[in-house]
Each structure stands twice: as C-alpha cells, then as structure tokens.
C-alpha cells in the first residue's frame, strides 16, 4: 500500500500482532462511499498522501491545557514530550506507562482489526501509546492527555489503553490540537477502555485540530456490572473528523452516557458513529448529540443501539439535533435501534432545522444585534450538550474556543 511506504512497523506491538495487523491492512479495501459504514464520509484523499512519522516540539504548551489541575502528558505527532509532561500530581493509585519509555510491546488489543482499515493501520504502525491502570484504591483519579499535530503529512498512530479496576473512579481529558501551519497531518488514534465492576469513568474528548488536518478516532469500551461510563465528544475544528465509539455493556445495572456536540464551518466534515451494545438486562444508556453547521460544512451522525435477546428492562434513549445555518451545510443523521428483547424502553429521534426567524426578530426587537441574537440561539441549542459536562474547566475552555473560532460570547 503506497500510503504506508514511508512508515515502519511499530516497535511497540508484538511481532505477531503487528504481522496480523499488517495482513489485515493489506486485505482490507480502501473505504468508499459505497460501503454502508462510510456512506457519507469520503476518505479517498488520505490514500493519496504519503504520511510519515515526524517528531516535533511544543512551542507553547499552555495554550493546549484544558484543565490546569490535571496531571498532563503531551504527545506531538504521537511522540512523547517528556520535558513538558508532568505526572507529579498523579494519584499514586494510578499508573501511567508510556510505551516508548517503558519499552512495552502490546500483544493484544480489543480493537477489531479485520475489515477495519484504520484500526489495522493504527496497530501495525503504532507511533506510541500509553497504558493506564487505575487501581481499586483510586477515588477521583484524573489524567489529561494532549495530542498535538505538527508539520506536513505527519501521522500519529496512537493508542491509549485504560484499565479501571473494580470500584475505581477515573476522569480523563483527551485534547487534540495542531500547531499553526500544520497541514495534511493525520491523527489516527484508538482508545481501549475496560471499566470494572462498579467503576465510574468519565472521558472529556475535545477535538480542535486545524481544517487542514485529518482525525480518525476509535474508542472501544467494555463495561462490567454496576459501572458508570460517560463520554463527552466535543468537536469544534478539524478538516475531516471521524469518531467511532463502540461500547459493549457486558454487565447488568450499568449506566452509559454518550454526549456530543459539534460546531462546524468552512468545509469541515465531522462524522460521529456510535454503537451501544446492550448484551445483558437492566441497563440504562442515554445518548445526546447536538450540532450546528455553517457555510459548507457537513456532519454525519450514525447512532446504533443494540438490545440483545434476553437483555430485558433496558432503558435506552438516543437523540440527535441539528441546526443548519447555511443553505450549503449538510447533515446526514441516522439513529438506529435494533431490539431483540421484548420488555425494554427505548427511543430514538433526530431533528434538523434552521434557527427560528421569529426568535431572532424577538431578540433583535429588544436591541440585540442579529449576529449576537444568532449566537445566543445557537449556543442555547448546543448548550444542552455542553451542559452535560461537569468539569468547569472543560466548559470554560469550550467557551473560550467558541469565542476564538466563531466569535461567540457568553
């Protein structure tokens, strides 16, 4: 495959796993819009670029810090920046191992490799990664992982593996950025999470790479009984962004919250594919994604909820709402439910509309200028998803970026 010709097999995966991933990569056809899974997202452009492994430095790390109170690790193009990372405040019930630092070779992965081209690419050519173990003793453990793309046609194949032991609590922030002038860079990242019995896990994922960059992100989550898992996916920039989120709910009485917001303009294309697989009974899942598209941007939402046979008493809710600010913006929204049990409470819905002209006029008639009136209405609309975020630093950071990129004020 020509687009991998500048890449070499990863030293951080076992020879066996690397070989398996490489064969899968070679056997997998390049995704086209004829495939259901990629129907609305074209990735043809990626194939034509000869991505390479580039190291880089950080000129000003402060701008990327979302929550200053979190122990933080930095990666540029997938490479660990030890000098800027600070784990001094890390809870000692948590261990964080950078693969390259500890010379770790991953020999197993819960990522599906067959027929999943980007997962296979990620595994075979892994740039670096981290392994996090959150022990039973952790209450309120937290970690911030900041990824920065830099330069021209750099690729970051990065993997985060998080194991949360039974009864542990853990909050993680994942921030994705690019340095000024980054062009045709590609973050191809994966995260594998195991949430143990009665554990509580929150992920705040913030995506803000340049419009000239690409981002494909796959999260696989396995939830045991009585666990609480919440992920907030916030996408405010990035040329092509695809989020694959797959959650297997393996134990009873588990709670799963999937929240997301995307605010797009220019020619951005952002695609959220989510799967919640209820394999057992008595669980609750709630999904809410809200988006605002301006100019020529496109968003895709495909949310799937499975309720397997015998997974009775499942409450599963799914909702996707969109506002189009321009006649040239597009949304492809497809909420799906597949239910094989008969005693469940499930709902799904999708709405797409424009801002209410009467509401804009009402605000204007009170002396609020049209751009500000629109910003008020739009932020009220997506605000429902932002409000799900409990961390105030993350909320504040989002508001700051909305102001920088869209000139919204709150």
């Amino acid at each position: 495959m020509s687009f991998t010709k500048n890449l070499s097999i990863s030293p951080f995966v076992s020879a066996e796993l690397a070989e398996k991933a490489k064969s899968a990569l070679e056997a997998t056809p390049w995704p086209t819009t004829r495939m259901e899974h990629w129907k609305y997202t074209r990735v043809a452009k990626l194939q034509k670029l000869n991505f390479a492994d580039h190291t880089g430095t950080l000129a000003n790390k402060e701008q990327y810090i979302i929550d200053p109170d979190y122990p933080t690790v930095f990666f540029v193009n997938g490479h660990f920046i030890a000098s800027e990372s600070d784990l001094n405040t890390l809870d000692n019930a948590i261990s964080v191992k950078v693969l390259s630092e500890e010379k770790i070779k991953i020999d197993q992965s819960s990522l599906t490799i067959d027929d999943e081209l980007f997962n296979a690419l990620n595994t075979a050519y892994l740039t670096d990664g981290i392994e996090v173990n959150v022990s039973k003793k952790s209450t309120g453990g937290k970690l911030q992982i900041i990824h920065v793309l830099s330069g021209d046609t750099a690729i970051s194949n990065f993997k985060t593996i998080i194991n949360i032991e039974d009864f542990a609590e853990f909050d993680v922030i994942q921030g994705f950025f690019s340095e000024q002038g980054a062009v045709n860079c590609f973050a191809n990242v994966s995260t594998e999470i195991k949430a143990g019995i009665n554990s509580t896990v929150t992920i705040n994922k913030f995506q803000y790479e340049d419009e000239a960059c690409f981002h494909i992100n796959t999260e696989v989550v396995e939830q045991e009984k009585d666990s609480h898992f919440t992920i907030n996916t916030i996408t405010l920039n990035g040329g092509l962004v695809r989020n694959n989120l797959k959650i297997d709910v393996n134990g009873e009485n588990a709670t799963t919250n999937l929240y997301g917001a995307y605010v797009l303009k220019g020619k951005q294309h952002v695609d959220n594919h989510t799967v919640v697989d209820h394999k057992v009974a008595n669980c609750y899942s709630n999904e809410l994604y809200k988006g605002v598209m301006d100019e020529n941007s496109t968003a895709v939402f495909n949310g799937k909820v499975f309720v397997r046979p015998d997974a009775q008493k499942i409450n599963a809710f799914q909702s996707n709402g969109n506002v189009l600010l321009s006649g040239d913006a597009t949304i492809n929204s497809k909420p799906e439910l597949e239910i094989y049990a008969d005693d469940v409470k499930c709902s799904h819905g999708s709405t797409t509309g424009q801002l209410d002209d009467d509401a804009i006029f009402y605000l204007e008639a009170r002396g609020i200028s049209k751009p500000k009136a629109m910003a008020l209405l739009v932020s009220a609309f997506v605000g429902e998803a932002f409000d799900k975020i409990e961390n105030e630093h993350v909320q504040g950071f989002i508001h700051q970026k909305l102001h920088e990129r869209f000139n919204w004020q709150f």
């Binding site: 006029f361 204007e364 009170r366 002396g367 049209k370 008020l376 209405l377 932020s379």
Partner: protein
C-alpha cells in the same frame, strides 16, 4: 417623538397600509383601534422593523431619525419597544441572560459602561415587582412554559428594564383575564412619564379603561380614518365597527 407620514406598505404584493399618518409626542398615550385586518399589527411590525413587509411610500421619523433606515436592533437601542402580541418562546436562553445582553448592547450603543451584576439584579427585583412577575420566571428560559398572562407580564417587565422612549403595545390585552389585564395595565401606567410615549393597539375598548389614552385613532383599510378623544373608544365599543365600515368602505 414619532411622525408617520403617508405610510404605504405591502406584504407579498398585497397593500396593507395605504397612506397612514400619525404623530405622537412625548408624554402622550395614543390608542389605535380597528377591526380585524385593518393593518394594526402590520403597523406595529413595520415600526419594529420586521423584514416581511415592504414599505413602498411614506416616511417615519423617530426622534429626528429616519426610522425606516435603522436595523431592528438599532431601533430598539434608540428607544423603541414593541410588546409582542404573541411573545416568542426561546428554549435554552434565560430571561436574565437575554435581558442583560440587551441592556448592555443598548448601553454600549450609547457609549455607556456595562451594568454591574449587582445593579442588574437589583433592577430585576425592582422591575419584576411592578408587574407582579415571580422572580423565578426571570431565571427561566424566555417565555418557555409561561402562561398567556405570564408572557404578557414578561413583555411589560422587559419594557420596564429597557426603559424605552416609545412603547408600542400590540394587542397586549388579547388572551388576558381581568386580573392579568389590571396588572399589565398597572405596569404600563407606572412606567408612564412626561418623557416617554405609548401607542396602544387594541381591538377592544376594555384595555382603555385601565390605560387611559389621550387620543384614540380608528385604523380601517390601511388608513387612520377617524381620530378623537378617549370617548371615541366608548362610541366604538357601543356601535361596533360596522358604522366605520359603512362610512369609509
């Protein structure tokens, strides 16, 4: 304060206003009455700046400025206020946040500093009392889930907060029971001063028992066909609009 001369306006090519003249001075209350379809709400919408209407002739001068050249928000900042017949529900935008934004935009327009949080909250407390609006409603989303009476009281509350020079009350009495009507009218009367003016648009005379006008105008078929003292309203109530129709149609 406002001078409307020979105003003609269309919507979707249909002429609604056909040469309307009206002058309102500071300290005055004018009532505009008329049958359904006469153009009462059209007049209110055009003055506020709604884009659906096309002004084909005439002029509107507000405090020496050509009103028709101003954007909707600029008209409000200059001191024009429209109390909506059907206040819009805006989920997710709190009354407080919305009013503070409006107030500060107006202050900025006039070169004033933004209002402090403390001063603003005091103002909210004081003005919400005026229309007996539950202060809890102030922190809720704009008009969302408000009863008809609460919506109208919220309009007058906003009017009190924004302190306009000219207020246009568009059918503020529609859908109000007698208690709500009394409260709303009480608020309007309390805000009346020698420096501001009010145009009350209504179909019924009932509101004018509470907000006593200095002048009553009858709008019919896009024009003001009759003007008189407050007793004209009583005459209209008694005779209905048919005699107007017979006389001017």
């Amino acid at each position: 304060m406002i001078k409307i001369e020979n105003l003609h306006a269309n919507i979707d090519g249909k002429e609604i206003l056909k040469g309307l003249n009206l002058e309102v001075n500071a300290g005055e209350v004018h009532a505009i009455m008329g049958p359904n379809g006469a153009g009462k709400s059209t007049l209110a919408s055009i003055l506020a700046g709604k884009e659906d209407y096309e002004v084909t002739a005439g002029s509107v001068t507000f405090e020496g400025k050509n009103l028709l050249e101003l954007e909707t928000d600029e008209r409000a900042k200059e001191g024009l206020f429209l109390a909506f017949q059907y206040p819009v529900e805006i989920p997710g935008v709190s009354n407080i946040n919305f009013l503070r934004t409006a107030l500060n935009e107006k202050r900025e327009y006039h070169g004033q500093e933004p209002i402090s949080a403390k001063e603003f909250m005091e103002m909210v407390r004081e003005k919400s009392k005026l229309v007996e609006l539950d202060p809890k409603l102030a922190s809720r989303s704009v008009n969302e889930g408000f009863s008809g009476g609460e919506k109208k009281r919220n309009e007058i509350f906003q009017m009190a907060m924004l302190e306009p020079k000219l207020s246009i009350l568009d059918e503020t009495d529609s859908g109000l029971d007698i208690d709500a009507l009394r409260i709303v009218a009480g608020g309007v009367n309390a805000l009346k001063s020698k420096d501001n003016a009010t145009i009350v648009i209504t179909h019924y005379q009932r509101l004018l028992d509470y907000i006593v006008p200095d002048f009553v105008h009858v709008l019919f078929d896009g024009k003001i066909v009759k003007s008189g003292p407050k007793e004209l309203a009583l005459e209209l109530e008694e005779k209905g609009y048919d005699w107007i129709k017979a006389e001017f149609a």
